[in-house]
Symmetry: C2
Subunit: 93 residues, 2 copies
């Protein structure tokens, strides 16, 4: 993930669905959420797709727990590589 470029991250965050996902994750104060717990108005398939994009961009981290996949934001890594990014995202605009 050290080689993720800014434009890739920007690209990942350029969709309002994905922005919503990350914002909800950030709001859950470190507690990982199951994909299902995130409120979104799209189908299962689309939802899965968006999580995949975020994962590929190095923005989220997913850990399987039984049949659920618990997801959280890679806060530390992102803050290190792109300081200010998460703050920017969480300030709702």
């Amino acid at each position: 993930m050290r080689d993720v470029e800014l434009h890739v991250v920007m690209q990942a965050m350029s969709d309002s669905c994905r922005l919503a996902i990350v914002r909800q994750l950030l709001q859950s104060k470190g507690r990982a959420l199951a994909c299902n717990e995130v409120k979104l108005e799209v189908s299962k398939a689309t939802r899965s797709h968006h999580f995949e994009v975020l994962r590929t961009a190095g923005i989220i981290f997913t850990e399987m727990e039984g049949t659920k996949c618990m997801t959280s934001v890679r806060r530390a890594e992102l803050d290190k590589r792109f300081p200010g990014l998460l703050k920017l995202i969480s300030s709702r605009k």
Copy 2:
């Protein structure tokens, strides 16, 4: 421009060409640049397209001066609406 959403800005910055444009503008310390002055490895048409996208997203501002169009970043507005964004962009990664 008060109603530009973050995902629109992100979308605009999700292309490495456009990121390069904004970075060069930021580096020119407030001096507006002609589109031509910005170093890019794309055709005139494509270049024009990218400037248009940035303009629409409210990121740059263009003023005609003879046949040239002098462009600069809308620093103040962006800093106000999305604090940290420009810093994030200019830190080369």
